[in-house]
Symmetry: C2
Subunit: 285 residues, 2 copies
């Protein structure tokens, strides 16, 4: 089933798109790579670094005759860029994305592509605090998890091709329903970000200087509050329903701890702390 | 005002008590150091490492004629151990502690000591995940913050002596009212721990495997959930009223973020995220 893509378009040649181009080309999985970006300097930098063979600011020019289109633009722009590229894509082009939220993207893009074209939703869970083609690193994906989210309408061979591509750059690949992906990511990634933003604001609202009194526990708990506002605005809005549900679960756990403290029920408090400690100590890396 | 203590008793010769003994002796601030512990192997290990000159399992024997008593036992045991040592202390002994909660300890111990004896509440904010005399490190306190919590009844010269002692082992020293200390620590330390415990339990309750799906943001946000259950049970219970108040502040910040997501108010969401990002990025270390 392995399929080398002779003509690839990568929309967004930053950290994820750029790293994929470098890694897949090194593994022999990509032929000519054309970059699409909004800024000519981004394209020039990507070309200088050997990420792309050439670039264009025009979606249809960049996408012409593509056998593979990778949408590595911010979550909010994915559907728009896909529609702009659509008329120019090759007749059996596979389209995939790298967005952190999947259900709305799969719902928007799946119906746009009719066989033999196909859309396969994807989310390589890898990243650093850096951005742009300068941060591209062919080793970024090694040993990390990539979740693919085919649904009942997704072409099986296309899904297999995309799975092979991510495996070729070193990732473990798992398939999940789009909704389950969004539930899991809401819990393991979006919730920790929401908590970090709220924690910084709560400490600040209490008139307490972070730098003066903050120690290791506050530092770790708030690290991701320094993330990109634009990126997290988009992710939180796109996955708002799943985040709302997991926030209810979290509120419930907070309420249990709080009630144990208020009522002085030490046995219950110890049980809650012991459960958490056991799970966290069981997670080694 | 600098005062060398010729006869020192350290109750609890683990990470904090042991590190203080090593650092203060190296700086020339302590003469004979006698250790008090519940386990003879702890005393043997502390003696082997040069933390103490000798040890005892008997409070009155350990405390006999002490000029300085350092209570470095768990928060819950501080008042009990202080009472056990009291009859044997030297006539102008200074008693201090290293507990993470101050108002209840200051309220319990202040009245026990009448001049020329004195109690000075203290909290050196330093630590690692390790415990016991094996973890003692004379460099543990360097450049970290120590908060002293004298109240209106605390002897000024005794407070100054304890401040000089912590400065001698490398700490910045700040004085705060016991209640303000507890409010600040509730926000910058106890709250992050409560959130970490609740976050692990919420993710687990959602049927999600931490090790399989958890990435960097969850790892950092939950790191302290692997802390000692006994230690955190004691701290959370001792500071429950202040934690309850700061949990209300935190709930309020979560509710603001959640409402912005539910109502799709992007301007409000961006404002909350930007506030947090600016504060967190401003905290450099």
């Amino acid at each position: 089933v392995a399929r080398r893509f002779e003509r690839v378009t990568i929309a967004g040649v930053g950290l994820i798109g750029g790293s994929l181009a470098l890694a897949a080309r090194a593994a022999g999985w990509m032929g000519e790579i054309v970059g699409l970006a909004r800024n000519p300097r981004t394209l020039a930098e990507a070309q200088r670094r050997g990420i792309i063979d050439r670039g264009s600011l025009d979606p249809q020019e960049a996408a012409r005759d593509a056998e593979l289109l990778v949408l590595a633009v911010p979550v909010r722009a994915i559907a728009t860029v896909a529609r702009q590229c659509l008329p120019a894509l090759g007749p059996s082009c596979i389209v995939t994305d790298v967005g952190s939220v999947k259900a709305p993207i799969v719902a928007a893009l799946g119906p746009l592509l009719s066989p033999p074209r196909a859309f396969v939703g994807g989310h390589p869970i890898a990243g650093t605090d850096e951005q742009g083609p300068e941060a591209a690193d062919p080793g970024l994906f090694r040993d990390q998890l990539c979740i693919l989210t085919p649904d009942s309408g997704t072409d099986a061979a296309a899904t297999e091709s995309i799975e092979q591509l991510w495996r070729a750059v070193g990732m473990r690949v798992e398939r999940l329903a789009p909704k389950r992906h969004d539930e899991i990511l809401a819990a393991v990634s979006h919730l920790p970000h929401v908590l970090a933003f709220a924690l910084v604001n709560a400490v600040t609202a209490a008139g307490i200087d972070l730098a003066r009194y903050g120690g290791g526990s506050l530092r770790d708990a708030t690290r991701v509050a320094s993330s990109s506002v634009e990126m997290w605005r988009d992710i939180l809005i796109a996955n708002a329903p799943a985040i709302d549900i997991v926030l209810s679960r979290f509120d419930h756990e907070i309420a249990r701890l709080r009630e144990a403290l208020r009522s002085g029920r030490e046995d219950e408090l110890v049980r809650l702390l012991t459960d958490a400690q056991r799970q966290r100590r069981g997670w080694r890396k």
